[in-house]
């Protein structure tokens, strides 16, 4: 009986994870995914605990990118506010864990921090979506909220700005946040280096698979339908405002989790997480990797952050310029992002063979460059971008 039921249960799980709203559904994809996971899991053994600890930041950012992919790539809501919820959770975790102290304080701080970021996302989302804020105005409003938080946190240098025993510290932020830990005094685990890396990897894997199940569910269809045409979707009886609010809130929670991990990774929290640079970076990750692909968002994050690190070591202040050039190149060649682009190339190769693919690639790239030179404005006329098509519709 167990022999029979086990595979069928796996089929059931696979059915939930696969679907038209994710790009990789084939056997080949899952094999490649398993190989990739194996490499990721083995990474600390090859490079050591310190390198793993450094790399775990990219995985933390991966969660943040995932949250943006859900609301922007799948639902068509371009938000600069993910870093706001990220920062709010990070600050909350710092304040609560340092006030309560000890590993118990940290354990309590985790759900509180995520709850606060979730609630913030809910409140902001409620006023936006039920207040009729749409399209590009959501992007503007979320950016403004983020920048207001930066301005506010930056002026908290004075000693009067303290919550309990924790000083907010203005530009210098809150130092001394301890490594991630869970449990009670005497029975606890504290994570750093490889341990933290594996823990974040597991969370990211869970969030990714959960995200896949979500976007391939009924709910995922509603998200994609809202992205494509919100008015049409409302006229099929969907409560568009509520769906938007729900996914925005959920993304806020995910960004919050990422923010907590970030604060324990660096052991400090400062207002730089609310700056326009940091608010823009998730957009870059997700654009590069592939907006409409959850895995793409994660891959894009890891590539960009790895390059930023490399460039900042080797080219210091020009790092962001190089990253910009790479982003432009990718957007020109593969406008939908790296993973969807790879998939398109793979499908084309399968159908037409390598020779035709090279010819086709050449003509497409030439056409794209010509197009880009014609339109001096940045991707304003690109019909592939939901955000810009929304603007046009507006």
């Amino acid at each position: 009986m167990t022999e029979l039921s086990l595979p069928s249960r796996f089929d059931g799980i696979a059915e939930k994870l696969n679907g038209p709203n994710t790009l990789g559904n084939s056997r080949a994809f899952w094999i490649a995914f398993a190989v990739g996971m194996f490499v990721m899991v083995a990474y600390p053994f090859a490079r050591g605990s310190y390198a793993a600890g450094q790399t775990s930041l990219f995985l933390v950012y991966g969660l943040l990118a995932l949250s943006l992919s859900l609301i922007w790539g799948y639902t068509g809501i371009l938000s600069f506010g993910q870093v706001a919820f990220f920062g709010i959770a990070g600050y909350t975790y710092a304040i609560v864990s340092l006030n309560l102290g000890g590993v118990f304080g940290q354990t309590v701080a985790l759900p509180i921090a995520i709850a606060v970021s979730t609630l913030s996302a809910f409140v902001l989302g409620y006023f936006m979506f039920y207040g009729g804020v749409q399209n590009v105005y959501v992007a503007i409003l979320t950016l403004v909220v983020t920048l207001v938080l930066e301005t506010f946190m930056a002026q908290t240098a004075g000693s009067e700005w303290a919550v309990g025993s924790v000083k907010l510290g203005g530009f210098n932020g809150i130092p001394g946040i301890r490594n991630f830990a869970l449990g009670v005094e005497g029975a606890s685990i504290s994570l750093s280096g490889s341990g933290f890396y594996w823990f974040v990897l597991a969370l990211l894997l869970g969030a990714y698979l959960g995200g896949r199940a979500l976007v391939n569910s009924k709910y995922g269809y509603a998200l994609v339908a809202i992205r494509e045409d919100a008015e049409r979707t409302a006229m099929f009886g969907y409560n568009v405002k509520r769906v938007k609010l729900a996914i925005f809130t959920f993304s806020g929670a995910l960004a919050g989790l990422s923010g907590v991990l970030y604060s324990t990774w660096g052991n400090y929290m400062d207002p730089s997480v609310f700056t326009i640079t940091f608010a823009t970076i998730p957009i870059v990750w997700v654009t590069l990797g592939g907006r409409e692909s959850l895995l793409g968002a994660i891959v894009g994050t890891i590539i960009i952050e790895r390059l930023r690190l490399w460039f900042s070591v080797n080219a210091s202040e020009f790092a962001i310029v190089f990253v910009g050039v790479i982003l432009m190149t990718v957007v020109l060649v593969l406008p939908r992002g790296i993973l969807p682009g790879i998939r398109q190339i793979y499908l084309f190769l399968n159908e037409n063979g390598p020779r035709a693919a090279v010819d086709h690639g050449q003509t497409v790239i030439k056409a794209r460059i010509r197009e880009a030179l014609q339109t001096v404005g940045i991707d304003a006329s690109d019909p592939d971008t939901p955000s810009s098509s929304e603007v046009v519709r507006e």
């Binding site: 269809y221 339908a225 006229m235 099929f236």
Partner: protein
Amino acid sequence: MSTPQDPNVREQPAVAATGSNRETILSTKGLTKKFGGLTAVDNVDFSVDEGELRCLIGPNGAGKSTLLELITGQLTPTDGEIYFDGTDLGELEPHERMDAGISVKFQSPHIYESLTVEQNLHVPLQRTSRDIEPVMERTLDRIALTEKADEPASDLSHGEKQRLEIGMAITLDPKFMILDEPVAGMSIDETGDIADLIQSLHDDGMTFLVVEHDMEFVRKISERVTVLSQGSILEQGPIEEIENDEQVRRIYLGENA
């Protein structure tokens, strides 16, 4: 049940063929919509009986689309009420009105361009059907898009897009189906197919409110016609009568003839 505004409007028995007394499914009372100084819909008392196939015609700017958008809830009236199936629609959001049994096909095709035909149908279907497959097959067959089920909707011709949207709208299995120019930009063959589709759904008991400019099409499908002009009901009655009406000919049909 219709409330004639104009004394010239004659009360017509709903359908002589079935001879049943049909209930009013939709009615408006003193419905008015102003856009600044412009009154798009002016104190309209309008009603549609259950099971009816009503066409709404009128020159451009007569207020047809505004009237539809007031019914769907995309616009809120300046004044007046709308009753549907015994309930006041006034407080209901558009999606709640759809839940109440209204469905709409927009004037220009509103479909999900980047999804396949089947995925397009999946969106409304997953709300109404537990067992999606058979309904999907039946609908694809009805709108003659079975062979294009896996193609992206953006690759469809204009007529196919129109058909797809009608298909999506009918999968909600509405009591009251609003079609805003269902055959605009379609070939003669396609127009005939849509007429057949509407007819067969109507035979199954679906109520229709159709806005259309194509008089050939209106003649083919409709029982009763309401003529709107400058935001008010100008004339109401069977198609033959409307077409021979002096006033209607002058204001509307004359232009096209």
